[in-house]
């Protein structure tokens, strides 16, 4: 399994690097990977009872590892991902011109398929989280594929922020499970059947994560925006695969937590509102692709209810409808893309006569739309019948919440039929008051072939509903042992069928009568507006905080920093037991004493000198004197470093001084100046006192001895100081040089910025 996943990433990397100029080659390679995955998955699914586990030790010290488990449900999902992946990639060969953007698309796309396969195969929540976040990032990159467009960037950011916030909720849930139960594995969780407040909170957090990913209310608003991505991306990520991640998670978790009242109500209410809201919005969309996006939101709400409600039969219905939706929605997106490619428009108000000019696409899209509407004999009919039948009986099992779910689903189903009719009418119909659209060129083979396959799949699966239903038996029972069910082409006259007939009739009537140009009234509160004002609030808030904490005054910074230092030092001086000064040595030698006196004198003079240049030289002198002290203590490395640093710093100091006036200005006078002096002196005194105390309070033995004995055998060197730097404490050194590099780059950038700002003024020569 890992080999196949890695194959995705290798091809993706190649597509982004060496094959950058040949996106078609990488697309073909990608299709090969998808086909290989399909074959391997089918093989595994057949030979090993559909369960195959692999784990990969990631960071052993932290107990982190990735567990993949290929059970029947994962097999189904991987097949959906790979089959649709191959079809959409083939489609994209005809859809895009082979340029650099296409290379990026191909690379991200294949990588996404790999990540998504990993997600559905995850055996525990942690592994799923890792893949989950990767899909968010790749979706961000794919939505923002046309990075020159501001709209695409904003949409990409919105999707990333919403799903990223959900990812954080998921992570919090995962952490709670890990801390509380010591495991995040789906199987172990199911075996434990845990309960308790913490577990409930964790489950809700996980559910929130699933909601953001699968665009459930109130996080539904990012998905229509994601349509800024090219059509193949929308078809694949934002209808067939990525947005199903939340459904997958709910399907995995609901057998465990479905009995929690709060879980069930959240799922049903959020899913129900999503379903109805998406349906209503789809009725007002005039861009065919946006219409499909809203319909996806609506269908996700439907799937969310089925997958999350925690009734075994509903789980079965969720699984079959998930497959049905992936097939018909991808086909619909791809046919819109084909129309867009041929006509150059997706506006259902102006498209006219397209059906007559592109009959094949029109028939195929109508088939898929019929599947979406739930019309016999298509796949969507069988799955919707199953869902209705289950929900009609849900009352007995789960009480009132079942009836609420049923009500939402019936309203949603009416809208589904209505927007399906609206879609077909809008895209392919002939309008009286519109001039026929001009079809520039017939869609090429690759643009139509995937649609042919997908739409006929909807038809065949519907015609042979009984056999198709059996294929999903194992899939559903993997999730929940009692989740069995049957599909049927003709279920016989029962309540579900009667409801269904009424639903379709009403929906079709609405869809037929409803004006295509209808525009919705601007709602006072939408998810999008809330998101924007939240984002704006966070931005202005952080700006305000920054303005307050980083006010740009060097003096304030120094006072705050030093104030904190002496406050903590004084606190520890006041509370800790004071050490004895019995064995304190004033100086080892007269020379040492002399050097220290020199240091003090030089420092004293610095405070009184009026010239910056003199002050810099005197400070340099202090530095060299300290180097002498190091040398006297027998630390040649330190002394050498000190001398060199001092030299270089002095030169750099002088370079800077050229830009400054030669004398210090006294801008502060009177009591403020006195306060400054008092503050500076007390900082100096406290630090000096603390150094004295610390030097005399050693209790533990020095680590020096140990380092010296270990230096040569383990570090391979006789210079202990150096061995400590590059080996024993090498990580410290690595951190330090990184800081050094960052600081130097920062200084250089600051200087360059200042210079650039000053440039217009600089004319006068300094010579």
């Amino acid at each position: 399994m890992f080999v196949l996943l890695f194959a995705h990433f290798i091809v993706a990397t190649a597509a982004l690097t060496v094959l950058k100029s040949r996106p078609r080659v990488s697309a073909v390679l990608g299709i090969c990977v998808f086909v290989a995955t399909i074959i391997a998955t089918l093989q595994w699914g057949r030979t090993t009872d559909g369960v195959r586990e692999v784990s990969f030790n990631w960071i052993g010290d932290l107990g982190l590892s990735l567990h993949l488990r290929l059970d029947s449900f994962a097999v189904m999902m991987v097949l959906i991902i790979s089959v649709l992946g191959a079809l959409v990639l083939a489609y994209s060969l005809a859809y895009f011109d082979p340029d650099e953007t296409t290379a990026r698309f191909t690379g991200f796309f294949i990588a996404f398929a790999g990540v998504m396969s990993g997600l559905v195969m995850s055996a525990d929540l942690f592994t799923m989280f890792v893949f989950w976040e990767l899909t968010s990032v790749l979706s961000f990159l794919l939505i923002g594929l046309h990075s020159e467009s501001g709209h695409a960037r904003a949409s990409a950011l919105r999707a990333l922020l919403v799903t990223g916030a959900g990812g954080l909720c998921l992570l919090a849930g995962v952490a709670l499970f890990q801390v509380e139960l010591g495991t995040t594995s789906f199987q172990e969780l199911a075996n434990m059947a845990p309960t308790g407040t913490v577990i409930t909170v964790a489950a809700i957090l996980v559910l929130l994560g699933a909601f953001t990913k699968s665009a459930q209310f109130p996080f539904h608003f990012w998905l229509p925006g994601a349509m800024a991505a090219p059509t193949p991306v929308s078809a694949y990520l934002h209808s067939a695969t990525m947005v199903k991640a939340g459904i997958v998670l709910m399907a995995r978790m609901s057998p465990i937590f479905g009995d929690l009242d709060v879980w069930r109500w959240m799922v049903v209410v959020a899913g129900g509102i999503t379903m109805v809201l998406g349906g209503v919005r789809a009725m007002y969309a005039t861009d065919a692709k946006l219409l499909l996006a809203h319909s996806t939101v609506s269908q996700l709400g439907f799937l969310g209810i089925l997958a999350g409600i925690g009734i075994p039969g509903a789980t079965y219905a969720a699984v079959v409808h998930l497959a049905a939706h992936a097939v018909f929605k991808a086909a619909l997106f791809l046919s819109v893309g084909a129309v867009d490619h041929a006509v150059g428009s997706r506006d259902i108000r102006t498209l006219s006569g397209v059906g007559r000019q592109m009959p094949l696409v029109a028939i195929l899209a109508t088939l898929s739309a019929a599947s979406m509407a739930g019309i016999i004999p298509l796949f969507g009919f069988a799955t919707k019948e199953k869902a209705l039948a289950v929900l009609l009986k849900a009352d007995d099992k789960v009480g009132a919440v079942g009836n609420v779910a049923l009500a939402f689903v019936v309203v949603g189903a009416v809208l589904s039929t209505a927007y399906s009719v609206r879609f077909v009418r809008g895209v392919f119909g002939t309008k009286k008051d519109c001039a026929p659209s001009h079809v520039h060129h017939a869609p090429s083979f690759l643009l139509v072939a995937p649609v042919v396959l997908l739409s006929s799949a909807s038809l065949i699966a519907g015609l042979f509903a009984k056999q198709t239903g059996h294929l999903f038996d194992a899939v559903a029972t993997t999730l929940s042992p009692e989740a069995t069910g049957k599909l049927a082409l003709w279920p016989g006259v029962n309540t579900a069928l009667i409801v269904s007939v009424i639903v379709v009739a009403v929906g079709a009537a609405i869809g037929y009568v409803f004006p295509l140009a209808a525009t919705a009234r601007e709602l006072p509160v939408t998810g999008d507006k809330v998101y924007l004002s939240l984002l704006q609030g966070i931005l202005t808030g952080s700006k305000k905080i920054t303005k307050y904490t980083q006010n740009g005054s060097l003096q304030t910074y120094v006072v705050v920093t030093m104030g904190v230092v002496i406050a903590t030092l004084m606190y520890s001086l006041a509370t800790d037991q004071l050490p004895h000064f019995d064995n304190m040595v004033i100086a080892d030698s007269p020379l040492q004493f002399g050097v220290v006196v020199l240091c003090i004198v030089l420092t004293g003079v610095v405070t009184f000198t009026a010239h910056r240049f003199v002050a810099a030289l005197l400070l340099g002198g202090v530095g060299f004197a300290i180097a002498v002290i190091f040398a006297l203590f027998g630390a040649p490395d330190l002394a050498l470093t000190q001398i060199l640093v001092e030299t270089i710093v002095l030169v750099v100091f002088l370079l800077v001084l050229r830009q400054l006036p030669s004398k210090f200005e006294r801008s502060i006078k009177g009591s403020a100046r006195t306060a400054q002096i008092v503050f500076s002196v007390s900082v100096g005194l406290v630090v000096a006192l603390f150094a004295l105390l610390v030097g005399n309070s050693r209790q533990a033995p020095s680590v020096g001895e140990e380092y010296i004995t270990r230096s040569s055998p383990q570090g391979g060197g006789n210079n202990v100081v150096n061995v400590i730097l590059v080996d024993f404490r090498g990580v410290d050194t690595m951190g330090e040089i990184t800081v050094l590099a960052v600081a130097a780059l920062g200084v250089a950038n600051l200087v360059n910025m200042a210079r650039r700002q000053r440039k217009p003024k600089v004319v006068e020569a300094s010579q």
Binding site: V656, G716, L740, V762
Partner: protein
């Protein structure tokens, strides 16, 4: 350039520059057993560039390509980080030292410790930092524009 060029410094730089660089490399590698090491070596090499700079030999002109300080910083950091990570691939801990010994005819035993390579990264990084400070703080606006016109 600060003030007029000094002939003494220019001549001194011409002779000292290669010697100091050589010394700095020596100090870097000897650091494992005697005072020295990458940090000190890098500072010594930096000092060579400082002399060159003070002598008025332009750093940004002839040397521009070879002396891009950020390249030094980046290369140094990469060397250090890679050396630190390599032991992980062999199942050791971060920065675990490997000690290699060869018997070279006529010279005798030659010993190389992997942490010397880490030190080399430090060396390059420090050179880069010194160069970067010299170039950014040392160049004054007017001078910059002249250079820009020449090149």
């Amino acid at each position: 350039m600060i003030g007029r060029r000094s002939v003494i410094l220019t001549e001194a730089d011409r002779w000292l520059f290669p010697v100091v660089l050589l010394v700095s490399v020596y100090i870097t590698f000897r650091g494992h057993n005697a005072p020295g090491g990458g940090f000190i070596g890098g500072l010594i090499a930096g000092a060579a560039f400082i002399i060159r700079y003070l002598a008025g030999t332009p750093l940004t002109d002839r040397w521009h390509r070879a002396l891009n300080p950020t390249t030094y910083i980046g290369a140094g950091l990469v060397i250090a980080v890679v050396t630190a990570l390599v032991p992980l691939a062999y199942g050791d801990t971060l920065l675990e030292s490997a000690i290699w010994k060869w018997n070279v005819p006529a010279i005798g035993e030659v010993k190389l410790v992997s942490s010397s390579i880490f030190d080399l990264g430090v060396y390059f990084l420090v050179i880069g930092v010194v160069l970067l400070s010299l170039m950014s703080l040392g160049a004054d606006p007017v001078h910059d524009e002249e250079v820009g016109e020449e090149s």
